[in-house]
Symmetry: C2
Subunit: 275 residues, 2 copies
């Protein structure tokens, strides 16, 4: 590894959700450049198998390496659950996922030792949050719930919507019965539902947004490896944030514009199957 400190950070997700992680990196590490890849031709990952998600993640790492990234953030819970080890093996640069940062902060803040996790079916069935939490605090009881409809609802734009509220409550019923005091938003789409969920569950339960925790961990990681950017992007420099997708570039750019604090003009298409 012999990268410039001004090299970009590679951030990838199955599609749009990882933009919530990119957003936190932009806010918290404003000196850093980002190359984002969204696998919009094969989205979602949350209903697919370990082998398939691993194959897709491997291809994305190959692509990100061509972009000369100095670190990789797996900004997708399902890809973190299934493929973090493989990404670490193949990347040749420091890698972090979204699960461990979220698990650690949940362990810090729970008082009663009862933590809920909502996520895709694949993430819940992988028990990756259970494992990550057990490693830190084996005494904590983790209550997981797969919520397959929440991503489609976010992508449909029904964020502040009575129907979405009803669906969230149906999913959360079991989880809340377990008297959790902490709830992990275990899919990168879910922070977009944060205020809706907050309204429904009240103030008594802490919400953990792994996107925010991941950005903080990334900062620590860049420090450890002494690869944090020293110079802000120069005026003449092409945009410090570049976006690549495997399909539907314009739709992606529109969505990115709606949630990022910057103006995303375009995303470029990558034939990801060839990597």
């Amino acid at each position: 590894m012999n990268k410039s400190k001004e090299a970009p950070i590679g951030v990838f997700d199955s599609g749009l959700g990882g933009l919530t992680v990119a957003r936190e990196i932009m806010r918290n590490l404003p000196m850093e450049r980002i190359v984002y890849f969204g696998d919009t031709a094969r989205v979602p990952y949350g209903s697919k198998s370990e082998q398939t998600v691993q194959r897709y993640s491997r291809q994305i790492v190959s692509f990100l390496k061509t972009q000369n990234v100095k670190a990789i953030v797996v900004a997708c819970n399902t890809a973190t659950a299934f493929a973090l080890d493989i990404v670490r093996e193949e990347a040749g640069v420091p890698v972090i996922g979204v699960i461990e940062p979220g698990a650690r902060i949940a362990c810090d803040i729970t008082r009663n030792g009862r933590v809920g996790v909502i996520a895709t079916r694949a993430t819940i069935e992988s028990r990756a949050y259970n494992d990550a939490i057990r490693e830190i605090r084996p005494d904590i009881n983790v209550i997981g719930k797969a919520c397959p409809l929440l991503c489609p609802l976010v992508e449909e734009g029904w964020i502040h919507d009575r129907i979405t509220e009803e669906i969230i409550m149906r999913y959360l019923d079991d989880v809340l019965e377990n008297e959790i005091d902490t709830l992990i938003l275990g899919c990168t789409h879910y922070p977009l539902l944060r205020s809706t969920i907050r309204k429904l569950i009240g103030d008594g339960i802490s919400l953990v947004n792994p996107a925010y925790e991941t950005a903080r961990d990334l900062k620590r990681l860049l420090g450890e490896y002494d690869i944090a950017a020293q110079d802000p992007p120069e005026a003449g420099e092409p945009t410090p944030y570049r976006f690549f997708v495997s399909d539907e570039a314009q739709r992606f750019a529109d969505f990115a514009n709606s949630i990022l604090p910057i103006d995303v003009k375009t995303a470029r298409l990558v034939p990801i199957e060839e990597y």
Copy 2:
């Protein structure tokens, strides 16, 4: 083309929905063998671009050709909208899609010339139903509505559910305002919501299930080409219905068992990207 009349019919879809078409073929053409392919590693198609759906369809045709199929049914509305011509070019055997059969029967049964179509975003934006209907009866007014949440709701199993009813009504509001007398279920998942939709819209509107019309058209097509099966599957013959998927074979088999009139023991995995 020099196939045995007892060769199988290739049926493909982005995932599970095409099973509603396979089911109608089983019911209406009981002598025929079927090879079904569901692209469960890349499902759904309805949110993806024309180019991507064409590339995926081309790979699936290559696979089906290795199975020596005598005809191909594109049992997915989005793939029919985007890739029917490409499938026809590449197949080397007769091909039918699901849109033209549904459009034709809608033209036959509408009395007031106002036809609604509900489908995926990609199918609606392609205007494939509008074009197919205009070709037969240019006087008909087609009212299309994209319903991105209905597939996820079916796959979540919320078929007879108050929330699903509310979502259907929200989608149908605009369509019903146009005083349609005929509604095409323009996604192969939607026949599974048929009784729910019927309950909501009452008896005054005819529902068109393109799966059923496609099976009837297939029968006609096999007759035209003189390739209809003459002999029922023999007792010693391996199962006349074979299922292939690109991911999650067991989950697929479970779903198939819940909607087909036969016992589906297993589905085989195909590395579809290699075709």
